[in-house]
């Protein structure tokens, strides 16, 4: 483990600098049947999020009289990792479903829809470290696409420590062999809705990682915003061409 070198001349294995995100691709409204949806690639991660609702709650006993409940299902496809994964929920995906739901819940105005449910499904098609953050980013855009009232979007990414250096958005090898990994989710106004960490960081390293992850989230927020806005400006362009004819 120690003989592996992750950083050479300030450049990481995949050619990134310490403070650089992996390339991001995002598309809104990819699923016709869902009320809102989003496909996202963060480096080699590929996730798809679908939102249904607000709709009637089944089973009935889960329903709350004064607000909507939110259900979040994080699932990894059996083919999403190198060695085939056993399908179905396991401990890890239960945990990620819970923390991801809690990352989004504070921005959603659930009191607008008593007795109903908002279902969020996140499917990981290909995994390469940081799938929970990709899932939250995609789900947040899918919620907006479904027309659900929210105080803001939520953006999420991780910072980690490899070779004693704090880096942004670790990829698979850095995550597996690094010393720490810290995913966060945050609103554009700076409220933190998710903060997890494994590994060990000193106080100073923690602060540094936090700053870096926040910056990463701001970049992601810009992309999320752009994707949503561009979806309808395309139509406007078409319209202009139509009227010029």
């Amino acid at each position: 483990m120690d003989e592996r070198v992750f950083i050479k001349d300030g450049i990481r294995l995949d050619g990134r600098r310490f403070d650089e995100l992996r390339p991001i691709k995002m598309e809104v409204g990819v699923l016709k049947r869902a009320d809102g949806s989003c496909y996202m690639e963060m480096g080699d991660n590929k996730v798809i999020a679908a939102v249904y609702g607000p709709r009637e709650v089944h089973p009935r006993h889960l329903q709350e009289v004064n607000r909507a409940i939110i259900r979040y299902r994080y699932n990894m496809a059996s083919f999403s990792v190198e060695e085939r994964r056993r399908p179905g929920p396991d401990r890890r995906s239960y945990e990620l479903s819970k923390v991801s739901r809690e990352a989004l819940e504070p921005v959603i105005l659930t009191s607008y829809f008593p007795k109903s449910v908002i279902d969020i499904f996140v499917e990981v098609l290909q995994a390469d470290a940081g799938t929970r953050t990709a899932g939250i980013n995609a789900a947040s855009v899918a919620l907006a696409d479904a027309g659900i009232p929210m105080r803001s979007l939520v953006s999420s990414c991780a910072a980690g420590k490899v070779d004693g250096q704090i880096v942004l958005d670790p990829m698979k090898d850095e995550d597996n062999f690094g010393q720490a990994d810290m995913p966060i989710a945050i609103t554009p106004t700076g409220e933190i809705t998710l903060l997890q960490m494994d590994g060990i960081l000193t106080r100073d390293e923690f602060r540094q990682a936090m700053e870096l992850a926040k910056k990463g989230c701001q970049e992601i927020y810009k992309i999320q915003r752009r994707v949503l806005i561009e979806r309808y400006s395309q139509f406007e362009d078409l319209q202009d061409e139509g009227s010029r004819r």
């Binding site: 009320d35 609702g53 607000p54 907006a144 979007l153 139509f235």
Partner: protein
Amino acid sequence: MDRKIVIPGDLLSEDTRRAGEGTYVRNGKVYSLLYGIASFRDRISVIPLAGKYIPAVGDNVIGVVKDITFSNWILDINSPYDGLLHISEFPKKIDVEDMSKYLRIGSSVMARVKDVDPAMKVELTLNDRRLGVIKTGRVVEISHTRVPRLIGKGGSMISMLKKELNCNIFVGQNGRIWVSGNEEDMDLALKTILLIEREAHTNGLTDRIVEYIKDARRARG
């Protein structure tokens, strides 16, 4: 430009008095609550581009009977919440045993929302000359968020449609629209309505729709 596309959390104004529908106020500033089109008039409001219909008192809706209980018809109103039509809200006095004679499962009705309580119990009524059971014509379903555009500013679009299309039209706030006229007129009406749904977010729509109808008429000869 007085209209633009916004996302949740976008800053709209620093004047809280201008906060309208689809916005919220925090720390003395107005932000958007929705992904939609913001219009900046005296008040700033955001019209969503998607979303489910939530019933409000006074709305006209089109419902489909999905169940009959002892004294209520339960209607699907294209919403997370069911509509209840009590037997006493039927324009005629009828017996409990005869309920399915007047309105059976699958029947469509034009109704009005009479009351919505905090637990989202939605009570409907048929007590108005314009309301009642649908027996003729056709119903199309569009996203309820496009309904304001179908009606137009001060009803400009809908009154134009009624005149130009030669059809009787009933617009349900829940996105269901009843059209009645001769077959050819209805065909064109449905096409026009779906076009309005697709292009609801563009400018100068009413004029383009007038042209569209004229073109379609001319093509037919």
